[in-house]
């Protein structure tokens, strides 16, 4: 993590955080994405003051520590009594900073879009937690079933990290609400797949799901069967944003349309608990996902001024 620590503002003192939580390791490590090291950065630009980077979050369920980056909405520090809804997003290194993203310079631009939507009153001020992926282990952690050709299948452990370790830790560090209506989970591609899986697995914890270009294809589209099997057991439907770009390839498009039909068949109501967006010209990358952040937030966390 040398280049990151040199460049970005790191929140708090690592030693005191470790003592306080028992989870943050003093040993930081290089961030990796999909097996390639994250790009080095220049030493010039500091991180935005409302982004807080926590290095090397440790889990007892998974072998690799990971960074966590937290977005605080405008006015957070000025309103110390206020509590906020919270959205957990996967692939945290791709959300805010083009110097840490897998493809350099290409991010979801979450800070810009969330700020704009909140300041326009379209979206409730919220905290957004970006969970970095761990490079080579990304595929394993973001998939719910083992595939004999590609491996994977560690999503249950990743879910325990989120629900049993990270969420309580975040609640101890930041003023976030914990009722299901105030907690969302989301991601893109395999990150969307694992969001849907965990949303169905923990319906009492996540009341909102952001599924951008989900990798429905994983292990012969087994998530569709999992949905059919588990949806009837879910007492209350999570609010789901689902999208796909029409330039992501016809197989991806068909798969996601299939998922949309399955959600409707399982009781999700368009316009109420479910929104499906087919993005004109949308592609399978961070630049395209960036254009979907604002409407996704508007649907899942609507503000009082529309």
């Amino acid at each position: 993590m040398r280049w990151l620590a040199d460049t970005l503002t790191v929140v708090g003192d690592q030693r005191s955080e470790k003592e306080a939580t028992g989870r943050l390791s003093l040993d930081s490590r290089e961030s990796q994405s999909e097996g390639r090291e994250a790009p080095p950065q220049s030493n010039d630009a500091p991180m935005h003051p409302r982004l807080r980077l926590h290095q090397a979050f440790h889990s007892s369920y998974l072998p690799t520590d990971r960074n966590v980056i937290v977005y605080l909405p405008p006015g957070y520090d000025e309103s110390p009594e206020r509590t906020y809804p919270v959205l957990y997003l996967h692939d945290g290194q791709n959300l805010f900073d083009g110097r840490t993203s897998f493809v350099p310079g290409r991010t979801w631009q979450v800070l810009d879009h969330a700020d704009a939507a909140i300041e326009a009153g379209e979206v409730d001020p919220l905290v957004i937690v970006g969970i970095y992926n761990t490079g080579d282990r990304r595929l394993a952690e973001y998939t719910h079933e083992y595939n004999w050709q590609m491996g994977g299948g560690d999503a249950d452990s990743y879910g325990k990290l989120i629900t049993q370790e990270l969420m309580p830790w975040i609640a101890g560090q930041y003023r976030v609400r914990r009722d299901r209506e105030s907690v969302g989970l989301g991601g893109s591609s395999l990150g969307a797949l694992v969001s849907l899986y965990l949303g169905l697995r923990y319906p009492a914890l996540f009341g909102k799901l952001a599924l951008l270009s989900p990798s429905v294809w994983w292990n012969h589209k087994s998530i569709l069967g999992y949905l059919n099997e588990h949806a009837p057991q879910v007492w209350e439907r999570s609010k789901i944003w689902l999208d796909v770009g029409d330039h992501e390839g016809q197989k991806t498009l068909r798969d996601v349309e299939h998922l949309a039909r399955r959600l409707k068949a399982n009781g999700w109501k368009p316009g109420e608990t479910f929104h499906f967006e087919k993005v004109d010209g949308g592609t399978h990358d961070e630049a395209s996902w960036a254009t979907r952040v604002r409407p996704m937030l508007r649907f899942l966390f609507p503000g009082s001024v529309r």
Binding site: R36, P39, S42, V103, R106, T283
Partner: protein, 91 residues
């Protein structure tokens, strides 16, 4: 099929002065005629932004899969020979 080509053999070096080209081949399908999209996007280091910035893109559309794949391979080879020797596959 997506590849990013870098103007360096050491992508782990600082990003300053780096240039990148992304080549993407997408099967768009189509009800009446099957279409294949070849998209090329360029990026370069921006001193003012202190990071890599991606510019606009250029699209070519094909009706034949083989022709689209050949065009992808041909364009990839041209870019690599033009000083972009390192490639990252996003697939």
């Amino acid at each position: 099929m997506t590849e990013i080509l870098w103007n360096t053999n050491s992508p782990h070096s600082p990003l300053r002065d780096h240039k990148l080209v992304e080549l993407r081949l997408v099967d768009l399908g189509g009800k009446e005629e099957h279409r294949y999209l070849l998209r090329e996007i360029h990026a370069a280091w921006s001193a003012s932004a202190q990071q890599i910035e991606w510019k606009g893109f250029e699209d070519r559309m094909y009706l034949d899969e083989r022709e689209a794949e050949q065009s992808f391979a041909s364009r990839r080879a041209f870019i690599a020979n033009a000083g972009f020797p390192f490639a990252t596959s996003l697939n």
